[in-house]
């Protein structure tokens, strides 16, 4: 009443203007404009030398950062469970069962298999000839990953895979083989328990990502002979 509410509103916006805890919530990506303090911290001189020493050593950089001309590379913060693009696939783990293709709500996974000629104890292994994922229609629900019984398929963690043509969005078996596999932790508790972070840690090999250790040959023989 009598405009007091209006003045109260002005005070709240003023509070947000000056309080440091309300500083920018927007993340600058992929590079970030920084001031001298953050620049010094970024250069790792913060621990070894003081901020003043950094200023003395790099006067030009300091002045440039003061007038807002210095930008540093930055990473987007995201959780290791993030369901992203660039599927991770391990040929050694895949049996060609095509569960992922069946589970996909959109039917965008195409798998063709043939006899591999490799005889295992439990029977002949399939060889996966075609493994196409039409990423242009993928909605990253992760059901294919949930379906995979042998932990061969993983979601990726990237999100900046835009292309100029729709056809380029298709992932085929060569892409999957050649990719650096940095699997997302989504639906893979075994990776989570190891504190694996796809954005920080490196690529993983096929024998590191399984739910179980690889059974020895005798174990496998026992298992099948008991049936």
């Amino acid at each position: 009443m009598f405009g007091f509410g209006l003045i109260k509103g002005l005070l709240i916006t003023f509070k947000n203007l000056i309080l440091p805890s309300r500083l920018f919530t927007v993340h600058q990506y992929p590079d970030r404009k920084v001031g001298p303090i953050e620049l010094a911290r970024y250069h790792q001189d913060w621990q070894n030398t003081s901020f003043i020493q950094f200023v003395i050593n790099n006067p030009i950089k300091t002045i440039k950062s003061l007038i807002g001309l210095i930008s540093i590379q930055d990473r987007y913060p995201q959780h290791s469970r993030f369901r992203g693009q660039e599927f991770g696939w391990y040929e050694n783990r895949c049996t060609g069962c095509a569960s992922c293709a069946k589970y996909c709500p959109l039917g965008i996974i195409k798998i063709e298999t043939s006899r591999s000629g490799v005889d295992l104890d439990e029977g002949q292994k399939y060889k996966v000839d075609v493994f196409d994922i039409d990423m242009g229609r993928c909605m990253f629900c992760g059901l294919c990953v949930e379906a995979c019984p042998y932990d061969a398929l993983f979601m990726g963690s990237g999100f900046e895979e835009s292309k100029y043509f729709r056809q380029e969005l298709n992932i085929d078996i060569n892409n999957l083989k050649n990719n650096d596999t940095k699997p997302s932790n989504w639906f893979r508790p075994q990776l989570e328990s190891k504190n694996y972070d796809p954005r920080r840690n490196g690529a993983l090999e096929w024998d590191q990502v399984g739910r179980h250790q690889k059974p020895t040959d005798t174990d496998q023989a026992n298992k099948w002979s008991k049936r």
Binding site: F2, G3, G9, L10, T13, N16, Q28, I67, G68, L69
Partner: protein
């Protein structure tokens, strides 16, 4: 810096030129400088407004091009120029093309009479305040021209609202100026100065204490009416973007749209200039700082307040805006004129010399008067605050009902 200085300089550089040629050359030169300076200030205001709004909202705002994104207005301008300049097929093309110019020119003209030193650019115009009121009245016409010629229903809605609003806010604005002129005349008469009470230089001279302290009610009315005149929040009815898309300039694109944008961002600067001259003492302030610097600082402080308000308050509805003008501001300004006249007459008749202390007494009386009249008028017309009663549940639902 004014036109006479330029004439002197040109005369001394090239002696023997005819007087009319010297006058024209110096006029073109000075207007070139002033217009460019003003337009650059407008561009800076765009940047300032965007950055400050963003900061208030915990965003970043433009920060990519140049230090702190200072060159963003330049990038915007290049983009605007590069865009196709479309004209609707059914539009009245002459008026359509003329409207942005009619809107821009009055804003630039205002700066001709702003006293940057003891003199204004245009020289000693002794009806400066009248000039401003007359010139800014043009924007009503320009808004209607733009909307009518573009044959767009949204634009027409905006213009209809705009014309009604702009016309009604002229009245309290002019009335609040009258009270200022009254006071100025009174103070100048006592000083024995021969300046006109209608000239802005005279108004600045008369401010021994700033008029916003001496006349709080007048300042309040003027600021409110002026922010309605330039259609800024909470009175941005003309181009209420959530309702009408873009209001009167819906159909404009390219450089014409850029002119509309420029005008929109120049208007606060022009208004702030007028307010700082009329109510905040203009070039007066600390004696060791040049007057023009003080004026620019004052202008930017007022622009910051405008931006702050814009970031906080929602928009009023059109009928509420009209009610506010006719039922609230108009009575308030009439009260203001009468009370000023009476108070000044009392103090003038007691003795013909007025001291600073007496001025402070007048200011004190005015503040009390302003508080009482705002309180009473708000009681009469204002909205009752929200009721804090606990609402009674309707009988149409009963979640605990269990028996058959």
């Amino acid at each position: 810096m004014n036109i006479n200085n330029f004439q002197n300089i040109i005369n001394s550089l090239i002696p023997g030129l005819p007087t009319w040629l010297v006058f024209i050359t110096s006029a073109i030169l000075i207007s070139f400088i002033v217009i460019n300076a003003v337009v650059i200030t407008g561009a800076l205001t765009v940047w300032l407004e965007r950055r400050l709004l963003a900061r208030i909202q915990s965003r970043l705002g433009p920060n990519r091009w140049g230090p702190f994104g200072l060159f963003t207005p330049v990038a915007d301008l290049i983009k605007m120029i590069g865009k196709e300049d479309t004209v609707p097929a059914t539009a009245d093309k002459k008026i359509f093309n003329l409207a942005p110019i009619v809107l821009l020119v009055p804003v630039l003209l205002v700066f001709a009479v702003i006293p940057m030193s003891n003199n204004s650019f245009l020289g000693q115009l002794n009806i400066g305040i009248l000039f401003i009121v007359g010139v800014t009245g043009f924007n009503t016409l320009a808004v209607f021209m733009a909307a009518w010629s573009s044959r767009n229903k949204y634009a027409l809605f905006g213009a209809m609202r705009g014309v009604a609003m702009l016309l009604s806010y002229e009245v309290p604005m002019a009335l609040s100026i009258i009270s200022i002129v009254l006071t100025t005349n009174f103070l100048l008469n006592i000083d024995g100065s021969n300046l006109s009470a209608l000239s802005l230089v005279g108004i600045v001279q008369a401010q021994k204490i700033p008029f916003f302290i001496l006349q709080p009610l007048g300042a309040l009315i003027f600021v409110t009416a002026a922010s309605a005149e330039m259609s800024r929040a909470p009175f941005d009815m003309i181009e209420s973007e959530s309702e009408l898309g873009a209001g009167y300039h819906t159909e404009y694109s390219g450089i014409k749209f850029a002119i509309f944008q420029l005008t929109e961002f120049l208007a606060p600067v022009a208004t702030a200039a007028i307010i700082s001259v009329m109510f905040a003492g203009g070039i007066k302030g600390l004696s060791f700082i040049p007057g023009s610097v003080i004026l620019v600082v004052k202008i930017f402080v007022i622009v910051l307040i405008f931006i702050w308000i814009r970031a906080t308050w929602p928009r009023l509805r059109v009928d509420q805006i009209m009610n506010f003008a006719w039922k609230f501001l108009l009575p308030l300004s009439v009260i203001n004129i009468f009370s000023q006249a009476i108070i000044l007459q009392i103090f003038y008749s007691s003795d013909s010399i007025i001291t600073i202390n007496e001025l402070w007494t007048i200011a004190f009386i005015n503040w009390i008067l302003a508080g009482i009249s705002i309180f009473l008028l708000a009681k009469l017309f204002g909205h009752k605050g929200r009721d804090k009663n606990i609402p009674i549940p309707s009988k149409l639902a009963n979640m605990e009902f269990t028996s058959e």
